[in-house]
Symmetry: C2
Subunit: 384 residues, 2 copies
């Protein structure tokens, strides 16, 4: 395998305690891994050298929450909501109809297009959830499509109750825990459940997570987005990797998160696009909770692939400093996926890096909406 | 001159009453002008044909308020402000020091870089203000730099009182109206004044605008950004083309705008980056006021070149519909510059057009942070 030296890095934000922020730095890539980090000019000989002209470099973003397998367009619904029509979980069903009607190729083409956008925004690892099929067949093929793009696949049959089971929701939970899980588990690493009024209550959610665990899937929970509830407590009780949304939290919820290994994953794109109040990241950070930032990319409530946009919102709206927001979008996302090979720049980690047309990562929030990502490497290969 | 047909336009939003929104449309460009608009497949023969594959097309955005001639970086000040330090107009002085110290080439290089960003965000016409020189020499050279890039140049010597005149502000107003204006007028189309507590009061602002008018410059006013004040009334009284910011308005201010030719130019990037309350666009539109959206691109309080970002904020935060926001960013911006050759797609207008990777312009707000602009033509030439 060949080595590449990235040099002329004006500021390297490694997101590690060991290296911290290094001015005038270089990184040596050996194959798909980072081999060396240090001052520019002192790097071992490399087969190739890339001069970054003073740009800042940070780890590739880790997007731990995305719904990319779907069909259809809900821009008119968005426009109506902005004009005053409130969001309800029922909107998901619009996408379910379109997704069931779409062929595998159409679904794959869409994921490929969104992948390209994500790369351009600096995301080098992303999770993909199913959840717009809601039949055994459509959930399984959604995950088969997802698995072509990422190893971080999540079975979300328990997104909402499938319309066919509207009058018999308990039967739908049985299906999710039974035949649907059996068909999906081979393509999934994780299981997730939307624990919210209008979706699944805590008891149903626990059944789903327990069944997933028996099938070897790690737990994730959509929790406390639309109002207070038992989702966060359930996530902590079940040892879930992540409780996602965390918009409405009690003091007990925060205590539970702080004393658990469960990451609080914040999704400000959803609050932006539903005109809801943002979660209070400051309160979580001050309590010692591990926080991740993710896009929640989905066609109903957060149709963005831009991690820089989420970072800007986290700073403007959620009380995070720019450095805390970048940490949450890298190290935080990695923790939410229980990965230690991504999210930081250190010897042995995957060579997933982002160079910005900016002198420091504060610019991600200071220059909102401006596409600052100038180059992206994933597993040592230039992908943008 | 050669003709180019843009065809395969899934939706053409002309921003004219005559054509409205046309599905399956084509546009014929003849040299630097639009020659014909109508259904795809019926266009006269063209020398060249560009198939847009179903993309939507809209007029190039018109950014009627930008401060692009400056040096220095204020990202640390931004981060401090987000951590709780309030914004004051005094921050401008940091940029004044850096701008005075910078050579013409450095200033020109920066404007060129920002121009490239603006083009990529779909902006085809932009205004540039001086205002970070605050000496006769530095204001004049700022405008000379600006005039290399745009005909919409604005003399803003009255941005803040120059530090040398802190104890004798009336003398600074005399300088602005005298020698500074004389040196700057040859390079400027407009004169602007920051009429706000901490900058210039209404009487000083009136003197500046009157002097500018005698030198042949049209009036613009920074008004009612940081609090209530007389700026909007002054703008209407003076027949200014635009009153900019309009964040704090009384009922009388809105009446004055509605019964004048003065456009209310809203700059939500400034509220985003100073964590201030947004102006109420709904109230202005409902009163019949002409509204423009602009970036306010500047290093202190709105360092964005993204009109799509401003559109998304206008929809999320200011009560505009996506279509109203696009109208304000095109027709509204043109009106704020008193231009009728830009901002809409109609025969005879300049061939300034934007194609989006999206089926409709709602996506500009529905997909926040995602760079959707796929192609930009200015004066008939592809510039992005």
């Amino acid at each position: 395998m060949s080595t590449v030296e990235l040099t002329g890095i004006g500021l390297l934000t490694t997101q590690t305690a060991e290296f911290g922020d290094l001015p005038n730095a270089a990184v040596l890539i050996d194959g798909d891994r980072i081999a060396w980090v240090g001052p520019a000019g002192s790097v071992p000989d490399a087969d190739e050298q890339v001069d970054l002209g003073g740009r800042c470099v940070l780890p590739g973003f880790v997007d731990s929450h995305a719904h990319l397998v779907f069909a259809g367009d809900r821009s008119e619904e968005f426009a109506a909501r902005m004009a005053g029509v409130p969001y309800s979980a029922g909107g998901i069903r619009t996408t379910v109809e379109a997704t069931r009607a779409a062929g595998d190729e159409a679904l794959t083409t869409r994921v490929a297009a969104l992948t390209k956008e994500m790369r351009a925004s600096g995301i080098t690892t992303y999770e993909i959830k199913s959840g717009y099929g809601l039949t055994v067949h459509d959930e399984a093929r959604s995950l088969q499509v997802a698995a072509q793009f990422t190893s971080e696949t999540t079975f979300l049959g328990a997104h909402v109750v499938a319309p066919e089971y509207a009058r018999t929701p308990a039967d739908y939970v049985d299906l999710v825990c039974g035949d649907m899980l059996a068909a999906c588990a081979p393509y999934a690493r994780w299981i997730d459940v939307f624990c919210e009024r209008g979706a699944f209550d805590a008891d149903a959610a626990r059944s789903v997570l327990l069944a997933g665990g028996r099938a070897g899937l790690g737990a994730r929970v959509h929790a406390n987005q639309l109002g207070p509830g038992r989702g966060v407590q359930l996530a902590c009780e079940m040892g879930a990797a992540s409780a996602d949304h965390c918009t409405h939290l009690s003091a007990a919820d925060i205590d539970a998160l702080a004393s658990s290994d469960t990451v609080a994953t914040l999704l400000p794109g959803a609050e932006f696009s539903t005109r809801a109040n943002y979660p209070d990241a400051r309160r979580l950070l001050d309590a010692g909770v591990s926080v991740a930032l993710a896009t929640d990319c989905n066609p109903g409530t957060s149709y963005t692939t831009s991690m820089p946009f989420c970072i800007a919102l986290a700073v403007r709206e959620m009380g995070m400093t720019p450095n805390e927001a970048v940490h949450a979008a890298t190290v935080g996302g990695a923790a939410a996926l229980r990965r230690n090979d991504i999210g930081s720049i250190t010897p042995g980690a995957r060579a997933d890096l982002v160079a910005l047309d900016a002198p420091n990562p504060i610019h991600l929030a200071y220059r909102p909406g401006v596409p600052l990502v100038s180059a992206v490497w994933k597993d040592g290969l230039r992908v943008h």
